[in-house]
Symmetry: C2
């Protein structure tokens, strides 16, 4: 997807896209960005049915792995129209959870 | 002032808890609170796997039913510990989406 490629080109962006991989793969991804890549903020993004999973991942990172070190800075929801495999316009919701180092 | 307190209390009571009922039941619930109950704000709350559904419901209310009239004012996520049926402590994530009349 060009939109995603474009977003990934911004080198200062630390983004984790949540999908069908195992839960802990994403938690580790988030934690590693803070601990080994020096991220000040990590944005956890997901769409549709994976929205709940993104919230769980963020909560586990904040409350179990980087306790007292990071916090939820911002939560944004929205929806986008896209064309599915059958050529039909469908709307899908998304969430963007910004986690950041505690001051 | 008792009169103002009463009014404030009523506004705080506009909450929709999202669970296993059909999707449109909740959308209608949200829309009705704004249109027939004079709500200035409605909070859409859900937990666990219903978090994605709460986001979808909010987006449909904002973009299809009350277009230009309401907007997402705030989104809060978190998690709570509770004791499940087997007596085990489990964590469950939640979301609270505050929808409000556009200024």
């Amino acid at each position: 997807m060009p939109e995603e490629q474009k977003r990934q080109h911004r080198e200062d962006d630390h983004i984790v896209y949540v999908g069908a991989k195992p839960f802990m793969a994403y938690v580790t991804g988030v934690v590693m960005q803070f601990t080994t890549q020096g991220a000040k903020e990590v944005v956890v993004k997901s769409r549709g049915k994976f929205i709940s999973k993104a919230v769980d991942i963020s909560e586990v990172a904040v409350k179990r792995f980087l306790v007292g070190q990071i916090e939820v800075k911002n939560v944004k929801i929205g929806s986008e129209e896209f064309i599915n495999n059958e050529g039909r316009k469908v709307n899908v919701s998304f969430i963007e959870i910004t986690l950041g180092m505690k001051q």
